[in-house]
Amino acid sequence: MEILKVAQLYAVPAIILIILLYAFFKNTATFDAFLEGAKEGMDVSIGILPPLIGLFTAITVLRASGAMDVIIMLLKPVSTLLGIPPELVPLAVLRPISGSASLAFVSQVMKQYGPDSLIGVTASTMMGSTETIFYTLTVYFGSVGIKKPGYTLVAALFADAAGVIASVFICRFLFS
């Protein structure tokens, strides 16, 4: 347990250190590379703004109208069966479909419960360990004209479900 806590603390600075040291030994123009990367990152962030506005609004409307509570209430049997906190079931449903929608949902959940609460931490882990399967599959298969994905979607959804359930258990184990 202690090792994991130390790893949590050192992971990010250690990674930056390794990147910088390796670049130093390889004589890379670090600041130039950094600027170019940061510019790309900026373009990406600005690029997600339109879908984020649209989906943020939709999710806020769902929450304010009470529809989210009803959905959570109705999905309660499923969530207790799988051991997922009921508040996070909508995230598990949204995540494979839309990255912006799940980002909006996670930010609202964390605002409500606090980013360091068990629910906030679990939401972060779920968001980080799963991917926008439908989008990726559509773009990648579409690019080479594959029309029959076969079992790909099923396998990817299995992986997604495993990520969701694993997140819940790991967070319960690490953070409570």
Partner: protein, 279 residues
């Protein structure tokens, strides 16, 4: 003030939920027809319509109006706060890419990938693109990962014999290659379930919302992603094994089954999965 009695209100809830379920399930099917945009249209519409209708039933129009007006601004604030950390990480990762650190990760992943892609492991172009895409994913290089991934798909499509497309044997002269191969499935499962070294978007989001330990979820995400990858790889292998049992070994066999024996495609019997296969 609720407009209706509680029992009829519950019926309305049910109707709204049913509507949502229908919208989402129809969206899931529309993805099978490769219509992601259409799916997002349906989901977005379902969320907004469902929310607005329920707000009228619930008498919560006031909150919804306030939410509508405020959320757009909130989204912009969120995006701008994320912008800083995402750009910072993107910058660091660009340094990693320039210095060649990505290549080291790619080299380290190669033995594992040789096990996962046994039939194409000697095809340098395909394996190179697959490996580089996964390495870019691992480092969170979103911009670099997508072009590399599309390159990998092109290479995998080059190796697509059309064996997975049902009815190919009956189509005279031309081979349809519109079905995913086992390698493509494995690649996409890996792509969507792969571990990310630094989950920068989440860290940025947590920092923006005032977390005291915004990087504290890194190890948890690694472990959860590892579980996800393991299950995805197992599922893909099992499903490929199951589907292989159901289809003919190669196009030549398929043609034989359908009663014609001349090999107009010029493929050897060993092309796919045979011991002397080209791969």
């Amino acid at each position: 003030m609720p407009l209706r009695s509680s029992s009829s209100q519950f019926r309305y809830y049910q109707a709204v939920i049913l509507y949502h379920c229908l919208a989402i399930s129809s969206s899931y099917t529309s993805v099978y027809k490769h219509n992601y945009d259409n799916m997002m249209n349906q989901i977005w519409l379902a969320m907004l319509l469902g929310g607005l209708v329920l707000a009228m039933i619930n008498g919560r129009m006031e909150q919804v109006t306030a939410a509508l007006l405020q959320s757009a601004g909130d989204a912009v604030t969120l995006c701008l706060t994320l912008l800083g950390v995402i750009s910072l990480w993107s910058g660091f990762m660009k340094i990693a890419q320039r210095s060649g650190l990505t290549l080291i990760f790619a080299k380290a992943a190669r033995p594992l990938l040789n096990i996962l892609f046994p039939r194409i492991k000697h095809d340098a172009a395909a394996m190179g693109a697959v490996t580089m895409n996964l390495a870019a994913n691992f480092l969170g290089l979103g911009n670099a990962a997508t072009p590399l991934g599309l390159k990998a798909m092109t290479e995998l499509q080059r190796l697509n014999t059309g064996i997975h497309s049902v009815g190919n044997a009956l189509a005279a002269g031309s081979i349809r290659r519109d079905a995913a191969t086992d390698e493509m499935s494995m690649f996409l499962v890996l792509n969507t379930a792969f571990i990310q070294l630094v989950p920068s978007t989440i860290i940025a989001l947590r920092a923006a919302l005032g977390s005291k330990e915004s990087t504290g979820i890194t190890v948890a995400i690694w472990i959860a992603s590892a579980c996800s990858s393991a299950v995805g790889i197992t599922a893909a292998k099992l499903l490929s094994w199951r589907s292989r049992k159901r289809r003919p070994k190669c196009l030549h066999d398929a043609k034989k089954i359908h009663g014609s024996s001349n090999n107009i495609y010029g493929y050897s019997k060993n092309l796919y999965g045979g011991r002397n296969g080209r791969y």
